[in-house]
């Protein structure tokens, strides 16, 4: 459960990047973007973020039944906090 806030922060971190890049992309594509294109681009941005986050997110959750897993989960959390600057 200690890792839950890290999940929230990592999600927010990735979402900020996704939105910033998406906005840049849409502005490059100009006005009158077909709805199909708009949708495909949104799906692309979500697809990449979600698939990249899947591994780390999964490794922030553990059922806590054995301590080795719990320790590893906490190590994963510390590493993610460091690598993405999530503590500040």
């Amino acid at each position: 459960l200690e890792t839950v806030p890290t999940i929230k922060k990592l999600r927010a971190y990735a979402e900020r990047i996704r939105l910033a890049e998406l906005e840049k992309c849409l502005s490059k594509m100009g006005d009158d973007i077909p709805k199909k294109t708009r949708r495909a681009v949104d799906d692309l941005s979500r697809g990449i973020v979600n698939k990249l986050l899947h591994g780390p997110m999964q490794h922030l959750r553990c059922d806590g039944s054995d301590s080795r897993t719990l320790n590893e989960t906490l190590e994963n959390m510390h590493a993610l906090n460091r690598m993405f600057g999530l503590e500040s």
């Binding site: 839950v4 999940i7 929230k8 999600r11 799906d43 979600n50 986050l53 899947h54 997110m57 959750r61």
Partner: protein
Amino acid sequence: PQKEDLISRLKSGKNFLRNQEPDKAFLEFKTALDLAKSLKDPTEEKKAARGLGASLQRQGKYREAIKYHSMVLAISDREGEDSGNTEAYGAIADCYTELGDLEKAGIFYDKYIARLETD
């Protein structure tokens, strides 16, 4: 017609959210939700519900936000079409985290994580 009004409400709600005016965004999304319901348009109904949830979250009203994010899940169940569910699970979990209910947050993050690899 109504459909155009709906689309423009969603757009302006989004803009208010981007400009940090969640209270104004809320009103736009509320109107959009009513329009989407009367037009029986589940896709736009979900967008409006998600917008309402996000607007309340920005105002720190987490319990109410959960209500609207859960509405997305309910619409999915009703329509048998689960687009938007990943984001809804994540947002509900975020709200429970803010409320300090890490147990409940964990349950919803698990649903969120399970969906990250699907499309």
